[in-house]
């Protein structure tokens, strides 16, 4: 059984396990793979079920961490030198512009992919508990929503750092939205900015948030997210499989319900995951899962690299508090919010409610609240779990997709159809020339 292993195989793991024992060992004995089960169901490996969007966001996060660490050596978080150091990165540092482009593209993609991951989980009802004991998928959905918010905050804090016009005015608008919160708004703004004006205090705050606090938060939540997936018995498609299997006229799956020698209550993880017929439906994680992991990683890196070369990385004029660009636009993933704060100022008689409060705080707050509590109101039967667009959930899916489409439409309007003074122009209409001076 013990064949001679190369050092490579000792440090990592074997790609060609000779026996099932060896395949299991490579998962159990290796820290890089230890969060995977030794065996995994074929259904949860399917590309067309999950599109591996969670894995793609993890790969993007690691890529962002790696490139970000290098960028930290090359960037100076001071208002006098920040812009110049980005310029050096673009024009002087070897491969600097490539690194910056990779970091930026990966950040944009991460926002999109994390969002799509959420959409996938929703329309497959994967936030629902299935048949296994000890599941708490709603909790993992909540962790996921917080991860999405953390992703937004990471990109928001990231684009202040170049200290160009985009950065300066995005932070102006963003922190003024925060100050529209009732009672404590102004205090929050003061604390975020470290003063009344966007200055050195603000830059260093956003820098530390961007480089340490938020990545640490994401890393912690990501570990929790993965741990919960294991606790919940894998992807929701496994529950679907187990339900299907129960309706088949086959020998029942062996039920092992012993406790862990009386040391812990409940059943062990292995027993909880034994929902499906091991022999028919599962394969060893190594190499079946690791191989796909490699494919997904490589494809993600490939797409990022190609986009990083093709898509130019903008750097606007240095931050200038005196001149607001016309139009002043946030990055695309925040333009739906910019559109909302524009359209939601309400006049009731003599009372006026600022759109910053309605569109910037109330509506997004309600959306997040609805997302967090949704799993607890979903009362459809169990057989929808892990099924794309299940019949019984049509109405829910339509409501959810309507919100998604609305966000997309507002994003498109904000990106393409808004010109100087935030006026509406169709695609084919030319923007009028705008005088440079006041």
């Amino acid at each position: 059984m013990t064949t001679k292993k190369s050092i490579w195989e000792k440090v990592l793991w074997t790609w060609k396990p000779a026996t099932e024992r060896e395949a299991g060992d490579s998962v159990v004995r290796n820290i890089l793979l230890h969060w995977f089960p030794a065996k995994v169901s074929r259904d949860s490996l399917s590309y067309s079920y999950s599109f591996w969007l969670g894995t793609v966001s993890m790969v993007l996060f690691l890529l962002l961490t790696l490139t970000g660490m290098i960028l930290m050596f090359l960037y100076v978080p001071s208002v006098e030198r920040a812009y110049q150091s980005i310029k050096d990165l673009e024009y002087v540092v070897s491969f600097g512009s490539f690194l910056r482009a990779v970091h930026r593209i990966a950040a944009h993609l991460m926002v999109a992919v994390v969002f799509l991951h959420m959409v996938r989980v929703f329309v497959t009802a994967a936030y629902r508990n299935g048949t296994a004991a000890g599941q708490n998928r709603p909790l993992n959905w909540i962790v996921g929503v917080v991860l999405l918010l953390a992703t937004f905050l990471l990109s928001f804090t990231g684009y202040l750092l170049p200290w160009d016009q985009l950065a300066y005015w995005a932070i102006t608008v963003g922190t003024n939205i925060a100050s529209a919160a009732p009672l404590i708004g102004d205090k929050i703004r003061f604390l975020l900015l470290g003063g009344n004006q966007i200055e050195q205090n603000t830059l260093i705050r956003f820098y530390v948030l961007h480089c340490f606090f938020l990545p640490a938060l994401v890393l912690f939540l990501f570990s929790w997210h993965m741990w919960r997936v294991r606790k919940d018995g894998g992807l929701a498609s496994v529950d679907r499989l187990s339900l299907k299997q129960k309706s088949e006229k086959t020998a029942p799956v062996k039920a092992k319900t012993y406790s862990l020698l009386g040391l812990a209550r409940g059943r062990s993880v292995q027993v909880e995951t034994a929902l499906v017929d091991y022999d028919r439906h599962t394969v060893p994680s190594s190499p079946n899962l690791t191989r796909r992991l490699l494919v997904v990683t490589v494809v993600t890196l490939l797409i990022v690299s190609i986009l990083a070369v093709l898509v130019p990385t903008p750097l606007e004029a240095p931050a200038n508090p005196k001149v607001t660009p016309n139009p002043a636009k946030a990055p695309w993933y925040f333009l739906w919010l910019q559109e909302l704060v524009t359209d939601t100022t309400i006049h009731i008689g003599s009372v006026t409610i600022n759109g910053a409060l309605v569109g910037g705080i109330l509506i997004p707050g309600l959306l997040v609240l609805a997302a967090l509590s949704w799993p607890y109101f979903d009362r459809t039967p169990l057989n929808v779990v892990g099924v794309w667009f299940a019949r019984a959930r049509t109405r829910q899916n339509l409501v959810f997709l309507a919100v998604v489409v609305l966000i997309l439409v507002l994003t498109i309007v904000g990106t393409f159809l808004r010109g100087p003074y935030w006026k509406f122009y169709w695609f084919w209409e030319a923007w009028p020339p705008v005088p440079k001076n006041f």
Partner: protein, 184 residues
């Protein structure tokens, strides 16, 4: 809730005490947990408070803008402080350039043809307006908002003449009503 369970864990007879009555061990548990919470709260307060600046190295809210004679007729934009100073022969007034919606700098737009608008129940002829580039708010020449998401009129600030050298003093900490005029 959970921590209460923790306190009751000590078994009767384990260290000589009976039932739920506090034992030496549970008392120690409680006091150390309390001490830990107190120190976390203490260091937490210190950390958050240290991030609220006590001294700000920001430009003063009250500043000298120059001698009245140096201002041309019409509008002058003071870039650093984001404020417009208007001169109408011998009178002066100052209007903030900070949009009341989300703080962008509004732009002064000269109208090709004078426009008659009704402000405070009176008709008024105006030659310029303020437009915000960020979200399209619009203000009349006297700062009253009439379109877009802005919830309030632009702020007017107090102007004064400095007693020492006769320069105009703008006080950004003192908003005034839009009837305010400084005659020099």
């Amino acid at each position: 809730m959970k921590s209460m369970k923790l306190f009751r864990k000590s078994e009767p007879g384990a260290d000589g005490a009976a039932g739920d009555s506090p034992t030496r061990r549970s008392w120690m548990e409680r006091i150390s947990l309390g001490a830990l919470l107190a120190s976390v709260a203490g260091i937490g307060t210190a950390m958050v408070r240290s991030l609220v600046p006590n001294v700000l190295y920001e430009p003063s809210q009250r500043f000298k803008a120059g001698l009245p004679d140096q201002f041309p007729e019409g509008a002058t934009f003071i870039e650093d402080q984001r404020v417009f100073i208007f001169r109408e022969q011998k009178t002066f007034y100052a209007i903030s350039a900070v949009c009341q919606h989300l703080g962008c700098t509004v732009k002064l737009v000269s109208l090709n043809q004078p426009k008659t608008v009704t402000v405070d129940g009176r008709p008024m002829e105006e030659h310029r307006e303020f437009h915000c580039p960020c979200h399209g708010s619009k203000y009349y020449g006297n700062g009253i908002n009439y379109a877009g998401p802005a919830p309030r009129p632009l702020t007017w600030y107090r102007l004064a003449v400095s007693p020492d050298d006769g320069q105009l003093i703008v006080d950004l900490s003192e908003p005034v009503h839009r009837d305010f005029r400084l005659s020099v």
